[in-house]
């Protein structure tokens, strides 16, 4: 067991780090055990780090648990604190009985706590080799992996770099789907980017990556615009924006004969726009141009303006009452972006202009209503999707406020039928994904569920991130139940928790 003892060196050290023992701190003692969970079995994890953090997340002190996973903190500051355990190569899933990595402690009046146990899981490792077309190792390439998924969008990507043998290793990963990006400076001085989607499961995975032989990755794109003003009296330029990937936009000016050239465009799909400013004025007109696909060098491409689309119409509600205002969002399925508008209860009108023609998803940014369908002149297109043609598209967005409630109790083994406290319940369907934690009595409630077909599953103990992907439910030990949820329905269901 390790303690923070007030030795002379320790005093200087802790004075440096702001953890000066003060009179009255003597009555604080926090202890527990750090465990490791592997294939169902839980056993003590030796020599893990246990840290005390300020409420803001700043690490105040770290000690090491002993060979049996036991730790004991004394001399803690008198304030609200957070406690966490960690070890290189592991992820922290449980802190003091709750899912998550931190346990909160109120030591404002001293604290005496035992049984502050932690459970750690071995993290996954992604390792690999990056080679070029000649099977030579690519060194100093930047490697980045980002988890795909709704909750993961706020996570920072994990990064690494290849060594002289072209090898990289990224550790500390959760299982799940990832987007891997490798970037290198090719011999010709251009940057080359390689992307790949892969699934990371428990343990260590090795992946071999090759930079495409022959291809430089970036190409010259040249051509001519027509149908927009350029040349004498105008300053015109073409801009292209990637529809996939994270590369920023590129711009090229249009010459007097309408020609333009981009020297180095990474492969991918792009939307092209043009803008023309009448010289001597501030008059600027923007145009949508074609979508272009860059796979190889393009010597002569013709770009013309595309007539923009407009979506105008009204909001109608079929069931329930319209709230005072609802936000409706049109999101381009081709990656052109999205537009949203706040529509009032009385006026109910919307008017989006200047959209690129194409397929759009229509959604409500609201918990009070959901989009049931879009009515375009007599036909309701598939729930919440519409194709906008060039010109004016008149449509009615039909919303409803007839959400259903789903509630019940999470129970344990069939023999005992006892409710399981603080289990997690996940509800996934085409109309939405929901996840909630049950209370101490095993009761759970989904307050506003959009009617539709869903699959539902419950677990006694699982971290929220692991239930995001329905594909990992079975691996986590649960067989989903299918339920039909009708409008304004009340669905009560008892669930058996997976361990």
């Amino acid at each position: 067991m390790k303690r923070i003892l007030p030795t002379a060196a320790g005093l200087a050290w802790s004075a440096f780090f702001g953890l000066i023992p003060q009179p009255g701190w003597a009555n604080s003692s926090v202890q527990g055990v750090v465990y490791e969970s592997t294939s169902g079995a839980t056993r003590p994890l030796p020599l893990a780090f246990v840290s005390v953090l300020s409420p803001g997340g700043e690490i105040l002190a770290t000690i090491r648990a002993d060979g049996q996973g036991r730790y004991h903190f004394v001399n803690l500051p008198r304030s609200l604190l957070a406690l966490t355990a960690s070890k290189p190569g592991y992820l922290t899933r449980h802190a003091a009985g709750n899912a998550g990595s931190r346990a909160m402690l109120d030591c404002s009046n001293g604290c005496l706590q035992t049984g502050m146990d932690f459970v750690l899981w071995r993290a996954a490792v992604l390792a690999g080799v990056v080679l070029d077309a000649m099977q030579e190792p690519v060194s100093r390439a930047g490697v980045s992996v980002r988890r795909i998924g709704a909750a993961a969008s706020s996570e920072k990507p994990s990064t690494g770099a290849t060594d002289n043998r072209g090898r990289f290793r990224i550790a500390g990963l959760e299982t799940g789907s990832y987007s891997l990006t490798v970037q290198r400076r090719a011999p010709n001085g251009q940057d080359e980017v390689l992307t790949k989607t892969l699934k990371v499961s428990e343990g260590e995975q090795v992946v071999d990556l090759f930079f495409p032989p022959g291809s430089q990755g970036s190409f010259r794109v040249a051509g001519r615009v027509s149908g927009i003003p350029f040349g004498a009296g105008y300053r015109t330029w073409v801009a292209i924006r990637a529809l996939s990937g994270s590369l920023r936009g590129l711009q090229a000016s249009v010459g007097p004969d309408g020609s333009f050239q981009f020297d180095s465009v990474p492969a991918g799909r792009y939307s092209a726009d043009a803008a023309a400013v009448k010289l001597g004025t501030v008059e600027r007109t923007d145009y949508f141009l074609n979508v272009i696909e860059v796979l190889a060098e393009i010597g002569q491409i013709a770009l013309q303006p595309v007539e923009p689309a407009a979506a105008t119409g009204t909001l109608e509600i079929t069931a329930g009452a319209l709230p005072d205002s609802a936000v409706i969002r049109f999101t381009s399925k081709d990656g052109f972006g999205y537009r949203l508008a706040r529509i009032g209860k009385v006026n109910r009108k919307f008017d989006f202009s200047g959209l690129r023609p194409g397929a759009y998803r229509v959604e409500a940014d609201s918990t009070q209503v959901y989009v049931k369908g879009v009515n375009t002149g007599g036909k309701i297109q598939s729930p919440g999707e519409v194709i906008l043609s060039p010109g004016v598209n008149r449509l009615t967005v039909v919303v409803a406020a007839d959400h259903a409630r789903v509630f019940g109790v999470v129970r344990g083994a069939p023999e005992t039928h006892q409710p399981v406290p603080q289990g997690r319940v996940a509800l996934h369907g085409d109309r939405g994904k929901y996840s909630v934690q049950a209370d101490q009595a095993g009761r759970f409630l989904f307050g506003k569920v959009i009617p539709g077909e869903y699959r539902i599953c419950a677990w006694a103990n699982i971290a929220p991130e692991r239930v995001e992907e329905e594909t990992s439910w079975e691996q986590a030990g649960c067989q989903p139940k299918t339920i039909s949820i009708g409008p304004s329905g009340e669905v009560e269901i008892d669930l058996r928790a997976a361990p």
Binding site: W13, F16, F17, P88, G89, M134, S139, A171, P187
Partner: protein, 522 residues
């Protein structure tokens, strides 16, 4: 010495093996590894115009290491060969395309492969240390003592393993510093001082790793121990702003025997001007304080940690001084104009990144160098005509050893005398090598009775072994020719004694041009 620093050494082995008509290729050849002789694929060969500024053509070697350029107009070109993991080769001699464009120049270039050092960092419990900061320092011998030059750095991974690569042949000292604070591991190891391979507290006790070209040293494992460490705390004052220096950053350099090793930890100065640096073992240190960007004022102070924290370190920045003086010409020929010569002050034995101070010589032979931060410097004068050399640097009538001067805070230096002699001699000749193929060599002139301790700078031979070193102060010297590819430290007296068989003694008189043949040391 340049061959061990990170700069791209010009390591060349040319063999212009005659002309063969190879289809349309006008410049063709093969790139091979200098250590194994195998063909190198994916090497980038660049052809530039004579002034090497504009890339005219670039190609990559194929699976058999071959490359070729065609469609070239007659003229002179420069060739550069680059491959990651190898020392870049920049051709010294231009490639000449003859008037008859059907002739082909056939070249073989050899690249020296870089080496790597791999290992694992563990602590006193045998646990791997992740995110430890590992640095490889190249041992570079100088006129006096040795210097540690940072060659590569990296962090250990979750298994405690680190990989440092792209290292030229040489002698290395490995330093392991604890992980950065801000992580649980960083907080746990915060009080652990820096350790040197295999687990000692100072670079002078470290086991240096001798790396040959292309060699990979694995299992250079370092064990960090729970040694006692202390804190240096204090304040930084900005004399020019008359207040605490809030934009200053404090770095620390460890002194151990002849070595100075930079440590990774830095401290930002607080709004009240205070700073604290922890995790330092007992010993001697320099605190190097830099204000703002890399061109800002710098200051340093020495601190010794004995057996307790140092709480009262004080550093003052903004005390830059002007250094002024005069150029004194001895027996100058008619019409010599000193205006336009450039005096430099290069920092001596200071951590890398310390700026060099440059000045100018005005009419009347006065020179001024502005904004010199207090430190020890070596004075140099560039732009001198052929045959001219800095004979002595005098201050108060006394010559300064090794042309070095110490600039103190609050003490402008004036009255320096830079004595320029014009009777410089030239040592020219050729390097004789027993083995038929040439290896480019570096010529060192070691002065036997240098009163000032100053040595001429070494130069490299041309690909055919010829050299010419001019503007050398008369006197007696020992001349050595060392292949550029070896990592021998000729300034090390022990090495000089071992190579005495290959040394050539010369006595240079004023303005003499002496021709010698120097044997190539192995």
């Amino acid at each position: 010495m340049k061959q061990l620093a990170l700069s791209t050494a010009a390591v060349v082995w040319w063999a212009v093996t005659g002309f063969a008509y190879q289809g349309q290729m006008q410049v063709a050849g093969t790139v091979r590894s200098a250590s194994t002789g195998e063909a190198l694929k994916s090497a980038v060969v660049t052809l530039t115009g004579r002034d090497a500024k504009q890339t005219l053509s670039r190609t990559t070697t194929g699976a058999d290491g071959s490359f070729g350029f065609s469609g070239l107009t007659p003229g002179q070109y420069q060739l550069t060969v680059w491959k990651p993991g190898y020392q870049t080769m920049q051709g010294n001699a231009p490639v000449t395309i003859l008037r008859d464009s059907t002739e082909t120049t056939n070249l073989t270039s050899s690249l020296w492969p870089n080496g790597a050092i791999y290992g694992q960092v563990t602590d006193w419990d045998g646990e791997p240390v992740s995110e430890a900061q590992v640095r490889a320092y190249a041992v570079v011998y100088q006129t006096v003592g040795a210097r540690l030059s940072l060659a590569a750095q990296g962090e250990s991974d979750d298994a405690g393993e680190y990989r440092l690569f792209d290292l030229p042949a040489g002698k290395y000292v490995l330093q392991v510093a604890p992980p950065r604070t801000g992580t649980p591991s960083g907080r746990f190891y915060a009080a652990t001082p820096a350790t040197y391979y295999p687990g000692v507290p100072g670079p002078s006790q470290a086991l240096s790793i001798e790396l040959n070209w292309g060699q990979e040293v694995t299992r250079a494992d370092v064990k960090i121990s729970r040694a006692q460490s202390f804190v240096i705390a204090g304040a930084v004052w900005d004399a020019s702003a008359e207040g605490p220096c809030t934009r200053c950053v404090v770095a620390v350099v460890q002194h151990d025997g002849p070595y100075r090793a930079g440590l990774p930890q830095t401290a930002r100065v607080s709004p009240a001007g205070a700073f604290a640096l922890g995790g330092l073992a007992p010993g001697d240190y320099s605190l190097v304080v830099r204000k703002g960007s890399s061109n800002g004022a710098v200051a340093q102070t020495h601190v010794t940690i004995r057996d307790r924290n140092v709480e009262d370190a004080r550093v003052m920045v903004g005390l830059q001084q002007p250094v002024t003086g005069q150029v004194v010409m001895e027996n100058a020929p008619e019409g010599i104009d000193a205006t336009g010569w450039t005096p430099h002050l290069s920092p001596v034995a200071l951590p890398e990144g310390w700026p060099r101070a440059d000045g100018k010589v005005e009419a009347g032979r006065q020179f001024t160098i502005e904004g010199v931060s207090p430190a020890r410097y070596r004075f140099e004068l560039s732009g001198l005509p052929p045959g001219a050399y800095l004979k002595a640097l005098r201050f108060g009538g006394q010559p300064l050893a090794s042309h070095e001067i110490t600039v103190l805070p609050e003490a402008p230096v004036s009255g320096l005398e830079a004595v320029v002699g014009f009777d410089g001699a030239t040592v020219a000749g050729k390097v004789r090598s027993e083995n038929a193929p040439f290896v480019q060599a570096r010529i060192f002139l070691i002065s036997q009775q240098s009163q000032t301790g100053w040595q001429p700078k070494p130069i490299e031979t041309a690909p055919d072994g010829s050299f010419s070193l001019g503007s050398v102060a008369p006197g007696s010297y020992t001349v050595y020719a060392i292949p550029v590819t070896t990592s021998l430290q000729i300034l090390d007296p022990a090495v000089q004694a071992a190579l005495s068989r290959y040394a050539k003694q010369v006595v240079l008189s004023s303005k003499e041009t002496l021709n010698v043949e120097v044997p190539l040391a192995p």
